[in-house]
Every structure is written in C-alpha cells, then in structure tokens.
C-alpha cells in the first residue's frame, strides 16, 4: 500500500462523495456522519447541490477527525465518485494524494481508481438501492469502525421496514467491508477516537434553528417553502404535536408574515422562515411589525440572488436587505449565528428580544450553515428561560402608552378587561388612527427610543488571537469556523479575528478593536463587502482590505489562508 493516507497517523481526513441528484448522496451523508460519530470520531459534513431532483452533480464533504472539525477544505483525501461526471465536477480539487474509489464499469477515467464493483455487488443483493450501503461498508472498514456498531445502528434504523430490508442492508455493509479488505489489503486509516464524542449531539443548522425556536417558546410558524429555509418549517411541523406548535404552510410569504403578526398580537410566539425572494415579499409585513410594535422573529436563510439566483447555494448578500427592508423608520435586531450552537442559542434569544422590545428580530443564516452538520458536546438547556412580557390589561389600558423607555406594556386580547388596539396607521396611545402631527412626532420618538436599550443589550464582538495583533480579520455569520481554522494554519501571533454574532445594532466596543489594527481585513461571502460598509458607517473605519467570495460556495480553509497571506505577506513575523 503506497498511499500516504494509510501509512501515517492522520488528524483529519476529508471524504468527498459525488453523484447525480437521486443517487443517494444525502443518504450516504446521513449514515456516514452518524456511524462515524457513534464510533467516536469528530465529524463534519457540508453539501453542495444543484437545484434539481434528478441528474447533475451533487457532492458532500465529510471530514473525520480526532478533534473538533467544522469547516470546509479544498483537499480531498478519499473521493467516491458515483459517475464519470463527478470526477469532472471536482477535478480541480483532486490531487495525486487523493485516493479514488469507484466502479470502473461506470466510471471512465485516466485517474488511478480503486475498483469497487458497486453495481455488480448491489445487483446480487437486490438492486442499486444497496450501492450506498456498500460504500458505507467500505468506509467503515477503512476507518476502523466496529462492524457490530454499524449493524446495530442499521437494525434500529430499518426496524420499521422489516427484517428483509434490515438483512439486505447489513449484507451490503458486510460486502463493502470485505471489498475494502481486498482493495486495500487490510490497510486502514489511523485517527484517534474519542469515546466522549459518542455522547455528542449531531445537528445541522436547520435543526439547530428549529430547536432554538422551541426553546424560545415558539408555538407558531407560518412559512412558504423555499430553499434553504424549509428545513426549519419541516422540523417544527414534525414536532408540532409534542410542543403544541401551530405550523402552517401559507399560500405565500405575505400571508406567512401577516399570520405571524396576528399570532404574536393574540399572545403566540411566532416565527417565519424564508429566504431572499420570500423575504422580499414580507417586507411590508416587516414594516407593519415596526409600526404596530408587534414582536416577530424572522429566520432569513440567505442564498445567492438577485431574484431566483442560485437556489441551493450559499451567500451572505442579504445583510443589507435585512437591515433596510420595510418602509419607514423603526428599530430591529439582526443576529448572525456563527456556529450550530449559535443557531440554537441565538434563535432562542431572538424570541425573548422580540417580546421584550416589541420589535422584529432577524436570525440571519445561510445555506451553508443550514445544511452543514457537526457534532457538538451539548446544548445547555437549563440556563435558558422563555421570557414573557405580556401584561394583563386593566379597563383603561393603552397599547401605546408613551413611556420613558419607549416600551409600552403589551397586552393581548382576552387577557384582562382592557381592549388591545393596534393600527398600521399612525395612532394615538389607545391605538386608534390619528393625524395629530404632534402626536406623530411623539410616537416616532417613542418607537426609536427603544433603540437605546436595544444597543445596550447588543452582543459584543468576539476577539480571537493575541492582544498585540497587527492585522485584524473581521467576519460575521457562518464563516466563523473557516476563519478560525485558517488562523490556525497561518500560525501567526500578529493576526487576530474580530467576529460578530450580532451585526445590528453593532456593539459599541467594535471601534476599540478596530483602532488597534494596522490592517483590517473583511472576510465576507458577498461581492460588495456589506458588513464592511456597515462598520464604516458606524465606526468610520473604511474596509480597505476585502476578501470576498460570491461563487455560491462557502470559503475553504485553503482559500482563506492563501488570500489572507496575499494581503499580509507570507512571512511569519512572530
């Protein structure tokens, strides 16, 4: 066995699976991530796929590691193409060190390929459907996964489908196991296992947002299906009975947001989940939330635009949309989860913030975060409280009582003796239409006054690195782990990272970090450095150095290392 992969201990190995839509790449991802995790490996998976149900080329990268691993890499250590197209699709990432395993009857190529006769073996078992499990078997053997563990998992998973299905899937895994032995002459990949990982939680971003919503007391979601935001609607629908959640697929996004506002008005805690175009339709409703001071949580999962753009790809280009959407002036908060954990905690927090300040709160994610999986040790549920701010109304209740803070106690219909009147027109303290222009001024000031309190509660940016940095990387949202891993590769004490989990309003400490840097480098998955421009507006620091990507894919660690070095010079000065 000449391949380096098998002869030296490895810290992390990148596996890429690629095939047509419909060939089961997602099924493979599902089983492999789970099987690796229950074996004690840290695992990470990210997918890129086309907006089609059949054909094309979809791929999944799975990283298996002895330590936490949470970012995409360009490198492919093991490549399993399911057709010839797959090789072409990822040609630029294949190196001489890439071990390619495939069915030579299907794949015609110049590359050295370890022949795995998937078609023939699957046919003997019962059909093409078993090809995926054969691949699972091969990788299980290579990664020293206990066969019994895999079989137990499959028995449990397929139990509802009957013993025949269970047996055939197990046979497929066993055949794969034996094939790997034959192909690689017993060679295996050595990565340290950590038994603690078996107890970790495996989540993707969509599940984390949905769980965060449940933990935030969400009891109503109205949404129109749209990639990549749909997973949240699906998850909450599936658990609607257990958690008393009304999950309604609306006729359009306009209906979705107006339903959500109706639900909050009547005492519910509602979420809308959408993406660019869908959110564009919601913007009038957003403005209604602003005027009526009705709380609202908006999960906005970004994908590349304009218009339909690249429906299944990723981008961070809707920050300006979230920031400026809705006519008129009213406060809002934009949270930008950087990790799966954040997706959970910040969505939970969004419900409390929305209720406390009676404002729209955005949870701004993207396709990359939503569709990525990795293991996390735990979610700290005991520390989380559902904060409710609804008051019982008295006979003389005024929904828009002018207060010093700008926040008026919020009543709901049927709870107390008062009447709760809200109006999209400018209104008096009782909520009724007014064209009294002095009152108008007071109401505008009341609504905007809340911003002072909201700014005080803004999440400060996080700083990573030594205090005496010269170069400061600035990022927000889903790029977090990729930048962190790039920083490790750079291994330079003169480079630090300033990271924002809340991009609006910006915490006032931001300036103090920026002014210490000789060079500030903005890293964003968009073409116009939207956050850099926002920082400039808030702090005066001009985003002179920008690392931007807008090809629909997330950054890879190698990408960032190269691009950062190009700006700061390759010499390690420490």
């Amino acid at each position: 066995m000449s391949d380096k992969l098998f002869n030296t201990p490895q810290k992390d190995v990148s596996i890429v699976l690629c095939g047509e839509a419909g060939q089961g790449i997602q099924t493979l991802e599902f089983f492999l991530t789970r099987i690796f995790k229950i074996s004690g490996y840290h695992v990470y998976a990210t997918k890129e796929y086309m907006s089609r149900i059949r054909g094309g080329s979809n791929s999944t990268q799975i990283r298996v590691s002895s330590d936490y691993v949470r970012a995409p890499v360009r490198r492919i250590d093991i490549f399993i193409p399911l057709n010839t197209e797959a090789l072409k699709h990822l040609e630029r990432n294949i190196t001489p060190n890439t071990v390619i395993i495939g069915d030579k009857e299907i794949i015609k190529s110049e590359y050295k390929i370890y022949n795995l006769p998937l078609t023939r073996i699957a046919a003997a078992i019962g059909g093409r459907i078993y090809e995926n499990m054969i691949a699972v078997g091969v990788l299980s053997k290579l990664f020293k996964v206990n066969l019994q563990n895999v079989e137990d998992y499959l028995k449990n998973y397929f139990a509802v489908k009957g013993s025949d299905v269970v047996e055939k899937n197990i046979r497929a895994v066993e055949e794969g196991y034996n094939e790997a032995d034959r192909l690689f002459k017993g060679a295996e990949i050595n990565i340290m296992k950590n038994p603690e990982v078996r107890n970790h939680i495996l989540l993707n971003g969509a599940e984390a947002v949905a769980l965060g919503a449940i933990a935030g007391g969400c009891n109503f979601i109205s949404a129109y299906p749209m990639s990549p935001s749909t997973g949240v609607l699906v998850f909450l629908s599936q658990h609607s009975k257990t958690f008393n959640i009304i999950a309604e697929q609306a006729e359009d996004e306009i209906s979705a947001i107006n339903m959500a506002l109706g639900a909050w008005y009547a005492g519910g805690r509602a979420l809308v989940s959408t993406s660019g175009g869908g959110f564009s339709l919601m913007t009038e409703g957003l403005s209604l939330a602003g005027m009526t001071e009705t709380p609202l949580v908006i999960h906005l999962a970004q994908r590349p635009g304009p218009a339909t753009g690249l429906p299944t790809r990723t981008e961070q280009a809707d920050l300006n949309l979230a920031l400026h959407a809705g006519h008129g002036e009213f406060p809002r908060v934009i949270l930008t989860p950087s990790t799966i954990e954040d997706a959970f905690y910040l969505t939970q927090k969004a419900f409390n913030l929305a209720d406390k300040f009676q404002i729209p709160v955005f949870v701004l994610t993207d396709q990359y975060l939503i569709d990525s999986y990795y293991n996390i040790p735990e979610l700290k549920l005991n520390q989380l409280d559902i904060e409710k701010y609804v008051v019982k109304t008295g006979r003389d209740y005024k929904r828009y009582l002018i207060t010093e803070s700008g926040v008026s106690p919020r009543g709901i219909p049927g709870y107390g003796e008062g009447l709760v009147v809200v109006d999209s027109d400018e209104h008096d303290e009782n909520g009724h239409i007014t064209e009294n222009l002095e009152l108008r001024v007071k109401m505008v000031e009341k609504r905007l006054r809340k911003m002072e309190l909201i700014e005080k509660e803004a999440l400060p940016p996080e700083i990573h690195g030594e205090e005496d940095y010269k170069h400061l990387l600035v990022g927000w949202g889903s790029t977090y782990h990729c930048i962190i891993e790039a920083l490790k590769h750079l291994n330079r004490r003169d480079v630090a990272l300033l990271f924002f989990k809340q991009v609006y309003p910006i915490h006032k400490s931001a300036s103090s970090y920026l002014e210490k840097a000789e060079k500030i480098i903005f890293i964003e998955n968009n073409a116009t450095c939207q956050f850099g421009m926002l920082i400039q507006q808030f702090t005066g620091f001009k985003p002179e150095n920008q690392i931007l990507s807008y090809n629909g894919l997330p950054f890879t660690v190698e990408d960032l290392v190269e691009k950062i070095e190009r700006i700061i010079g390759g010499v390690n000065e420490s």
Binding site: F243, E251, N258, G262, L379, I412, P413, L419, V422
Partner: protein
Amino acid sequence: MKANPFDIENIDIAWCPGCGNYSILKILKDALLELEIKPEKLVIVSGIGQAAKTPHYLKANVFNGLHGRALPAATAIKAVNPSLTVIAESGDGDMYGEGGNHFIHAIRRNPGITNIVHNNMVYGLTKGQASPTSLINFKTPVQVEGVFNEPFNPLSVAIALDASFVARAFAGDYKETKEIIKKALKHKGYALVDIFQPCVTYNKVNTYQWFKENTYYLDETHNVYDRLEAFKKSIETGKYPLGIFYINPNKKTFEENLPPYKNNSIPIIEQEFDKTKLIELVNSKKNS
C-alpha cells in the same frame, strides 16, 4: 335610543355623510349586543380602506393591519386563541383585489371567523377607481371607457371552494342584514357576508335606489345545504339574490384540524412549555 356597550363616544368618523358604512356599523354593534359577545373577547381585524376603518368606531380589540392582509392575521389570531370571536372586515378592493389570494386560501382553511366585506363596487379612499366588483361599463377616472374586466363574483368563488357559510346582504336593510350577521357569527367555521353598500360619493350608478331595485331575498324554498343550487343563485345577475346562499355544517374548522388541538381545546397560548420534552428531543440527536 338605548346605549350599546360597543359605542365609542366623541369619535371623529372619516366617512362621508350618508355612507353605507354607518348602517353596517350600527347593524354590527346591534348584532354583537344581541349575541351577548363581550368587547374584550372580540377581535376585529381589518385591512385598509374606508370599510377597514370600521373597527376604530366600536369597542373591540382591533388589529388594523395592511391592505388586503386581514384574513391571514385573523386566521392566526383565532388559531392561537380559539376562545376569541374574530371578525375580518374590509372592503371589496381590500378583500377581493389586494387580498384575493388570501380570500381563496382562507376559505380552504375554514377558520372560525366571520368575514364581512363592504361591497360598494368602487374604491372610495383612493377616490373613485374601479374595484374588482365594479360592473361592466362603470366609468371612472382610470377606467375612462368603462370597466371591461369581468366583475369578481365572491359568492361563486366561495361556493366553488365549498366555503362553509356564504351570504349576501344589503346595508340598507337593517333587520335582514342583522339576522344574517348574527347567523354568520354563530356559525362554526368560515363565514362570508358580502354586503352591498352604496358609496354616495364615488358610485353614482349603484345607489340605494339601484340596490333596492336590483336585489331580492332568497325565500324559504331555497335549500341552503344544496351547493349546486347555491351556485346557480350566486351567478344570477340583473336582480341579485340576498340572504344565506349556502351552509356546509359538516366541515371541521382550521383550528380543529391543527395538531395541538387534536387532544384538547386549550388555546396554545395557555399551554405550558415542557422543557423535559425538549431535553428528550435534543438527546435523541445523540444516536438518531
């Protein structure tokens, strides 16, 4: 005149003198009083337009939202708290034009709300353009040669979608309209009450006189449970039928169909959150 608990004193009403909205407001307040509905248990949801200002002129909880969007908000309000009486009230332009899509889908959902539509066949607030229900040849500053688009027929659409309660009333008939609204409010699912209403400023064709001359009441021979018959009545023009066209008493409401209400009818806003179930669900992600 005896005091009505729904009256608000000293209000500045934005409607023209003689507007049909005044009679609808009076009829609505009297119907609510007779049904002993309490203002604090009533929510009126409206959109934008002159009709949509109605909830500001009586005592009720009010959600006066966006143009055309009353029905989604009303549906959600009823869903999170089914113990409330919920009315969605606006004009023809709001409900059938801007909100047309929601009109269709609200009927499909069958929420337990009453949908009152002031139908004056014209846009009042924007000063006299055609509405979806304006009749052919109706001339306006925009439809200068007269309307040529087919008038929207809300009753036919509703019956085609098997709406559970469909009625048409006339603002000029106090007694009949009050009875229709009372029946609509007592109905379990979605109830449409389209109310013919003269606009004294912008519609000089469809006047009080015109509506008197061009309508008649369905009599006791009309079977409200016969959908086909109801549909036939709904497409009659020339003389427009008034009254209850159609009732489907067998439909489950939107709320009844929702998973949280399958086992009990406690409003979801009163249900306690069970953290142990969340812990269970999170733990299931360890080996799912």
